[in-house]
Structure formats: C-alpha cells, structure tokens
C-alpha cells in the first residue's frame, strides 16, 4: 500500500523532494506539499483505493505523513 501512496504523492503532491526518499514519518508539508496539492492527493487516493474521505478526516494530520495516510485508508477500507 505504501508504494501506491508514494506514487500518488509523486504525481500529485508537488513535493520539493524526491518521493522515493520519503519515510513513513516524513512531514509532507515540510517536504513541500501545499494545501492545494493535498486536495489533489486526497482525490487521487480516493480514486486509487476506491474510498471517500469523510469531512471528519479533513484534518492536516491525516495527510501529514505517508504513515498517517496509510492509517486513514486502512480505517476506510476496514471490513472489506
């Protein structure tokens, strides 16, 4: 799952660093992801994993690291 997330960050995150260098806990905002890019990342994740982020997940911390994104997707796909 983490590599699919990394690919989306590479395509949509507008990062100032190579997505291949991101660790699970690397702060994506500090790595150059703007708020607008985070919207694109969210929409791309929804398409990739067939999920929809509810309003309650519109939190900076949810999209702050690859690890946090993975945890959110695990939560949204629980029971499948």
């Amino acid at each position: 799952m983490i590599e699919r997330i990394r690919a989306i960050l590479r395509d949509h995150g507008r990062l100032s660093v190579d997505a291949g260098l991101l660790g699970d806990d690397t702060n994506l905002y500090e790595a150059g992801m703007s708020s607008h890019a985070s919207v694109n990342v969210m929409l791309a994740l929804e398409g990739e994993f067939d999920v929809e982020f509810p309003d309650a997940m519109f939190r900076r911390e949810v999209f702050g690291t690859m690890g946090a994104i993975r945890a959110a997707i695990v939560e949204l796909t629980k029971g499948r």
Partner: protein, 135 residues
C-alpha cells in the same frame, strides 16, 4: 513604558496560488474537485466566467487558505474547504461566510467579521484575510 500583551488583536492571513494548478485540478478531477472545495454559490459565480473560471476559482482557493491561516486550526481540527465561503457583497467587494468548524474556530478565537481582498492575473491569484480579535 507599560507592557502590552504579546497577542496581536489584528490577525492577517495571505495566500498565493498558481492559476494553472487550479485549472489542472479541474481538468483532472472535475466535479469531484469542485464540490469538495467550493460551495454551490461559489461554483455558480465562477462558472459565469466561462473559460476564465479557473482564475476565479483560484482566487477563492487563495481566500479560503488565507482565512485558514487566520483561524489557525490545530492538526486535529477537521476543517472542510466548503466551510469557508467567499461571498459577493452589495458594493461589489467580497466577504466571507463561515460554517461548521470554521465558525467554531472563529468563535473560539473571539474573532469578529473577516475582511478579505482578492486579486489575480493570468498566472497567479492572491488573497489577504484580516480579522480582529475581541479584547
């Protein structure tokens, strides 16, 4: 000299965005992008600009981000883009309407009404938001 509180009463937020990045999001994600970020009123207003709609959407995104910088949500505050709406005022300027968590954050910070200013050219859109904190 009498010491003063370090907390400013006037809070300011600003944001700059490339119009092309907004146009790209509209092209890639279409209505999914538009409905998650902009209110129906905002979408109707911007759509009237036809081929220049992305300019107006970009200015509104910058305004929402500028307002967020004033509201200063914590990483755990769930704040939707549509809870901050740019509205046209009778004098032709723009104002802000807050709902949900955005409204709660403004109340928590004792902020009064927001003043905003938007501008754009073909490449960039910029917005400034100002609010005063009650003493």
């Amino acid at each position: 000299m009498r010491s003063r509180s370090a907390a400013p009463r006037i809070l300011v937020g600003t944001d700059l965005i490339e119009v092309a990045s907004v146009a790209e999001s509209i092209q890639r994600f279409g209505d999914r992008y538009l409905t998650r970020v902009y209110t129906p009123t905002e979408r109707r207003y911007c759509a009237r600009a036809g081929r220049d709609a992305a300019l107006h959407f970009a200015a509104r995104f910058a305004a929402k981000e500028a307002v967020m910088k004033v509201l200063r949500p914590t990483p755990s505050d769930a704040l939707t883009w549509t809870s901050i709406e740019v509205v046209r005022s009778a004098d032709g300027g723009c104002g802000v309407r807050l709902r949900g968590t955005a409204r709660k954050l403004a109340l928590r910070a004792a902020l009064g009404a927001f003043a905003i200013s938007l501008s754009h050219d073909k490449r960039y859109a910029i917005a400034v938001a100002v609010a005063e904190r009650s003493p």
